[in-house]
């Protein structure tokens, strides 16, 4: 797989996450959780977002769902 194809995939996924996210909900979150979700929207890396939030996997997945951020893969 070419790097260009991965970058195109990343860009499409990032655009969809940004568009669909409930930004009002995200902005009201405590700083740590807000930072984690913003990181997730930009990168799609749930493991790193989990570390930023200091949450278990299922908890960060639920938070992503509540913020209406889609999983795009």
């Amino acid at each position: 797989m070419e790097a260009d194809e991965i970058l195109e995939w990343e860009e499409e996924a990032r655009r969809l996450r940004r568009e669909k996210a409930d930004w009002e909900f995200i902005e009201k979150l405590p700083p740590k959780l807000k930072a984690a979700l913003k990181y997730y929207i930009e990168t799609g890396d749930i493991r790193a977002a989990q570390q930023i939030a200091g949450m278990d996997f299922e908890d960060i997945r639920e938070l992503i769902r509540k913020a209406k951020i889609p999983i795009v893969l």
Binding site: R47, D56, E58, R65, I71
Partner: protein, 176 residues
């Protein structure tokens, strides 16, 4: 699929979302057994995933996968390989699944970007499926009726979005 690939190994990202899908048991008809690594099981704590996985382990549809030291070593080698590559990093639970896929020929089930792209980016010979490929395979085997409807159902129930290229592939597949 070959005999070996009648077995799969699932990571946390796959199980947590797949368990929310109302037709989740179609997975049990696609594979003779789905292995669940101990490191993945430790991450599951909420319904519906934990309940469904426990039920499947009880009925032997799923099997607990114990990580041996050589497999752990392979997993850490894959994690190291992924650093500096143009893809999301691979973390330990996903790396264990990839290492098991490599060693035993299991299909790796994931919704993790790093794991999904690993075969192509790292050049490793392992089959990795997302929910998308699982549903397409279920449709090919006549286990689900309407592929597009089923994919839309999965999107709605799990809050996933399939990519434009995936949908283009579906249109080509269903028109042929």
């Amino acid at each position: 699929m070959s005999r070996a690939s009648r077995e799969a190994i699932a990571d946390t990202s796959f199980l947590v979302d797949w368990a929310k899908y109302s037709k989740r048991d179609v997975l049990l008809r696609l594979f003779e057994v789905v292995h669940v690594p101990e490191s993945v099981l430790r991450e599951l704590k909420l319904p519906p995933a934990i309940d469904w996985v426990a039920d499947c382990l009880a009925s032997d549809a799923f099997a607990l996968f114990t990580e041996t030291s050589d497999l752990e070593e392979e997993a850490r080698r894959l994690m190291a390989m992924s650093r500096g590559k143009p893809l999301k990093r691979i973390d330990y639970p996903e790396a264990v699944c990839l290492a098991a896929g490599l060693k035993y020929g299991y299909v790796v089930l994931t919704e993790n970007g790093g794991a999904y792209f690993a075969p192509r980016v790292l050049g490793i010979n392992v089959t990795v499926w997302r929910a998308f490929e699982v549903i397409v395979e279920a449709w090919r085997r006549g286990l689900v009726e309407n592929l597009a409807v089923e994919l839309e159902r999965y999107e709605g129930e799990t809050f996933h979005l399939f990519r434009r290229r995936d949908w283009e592939y579906v249109w080509r597949l269903t028109r042929s």
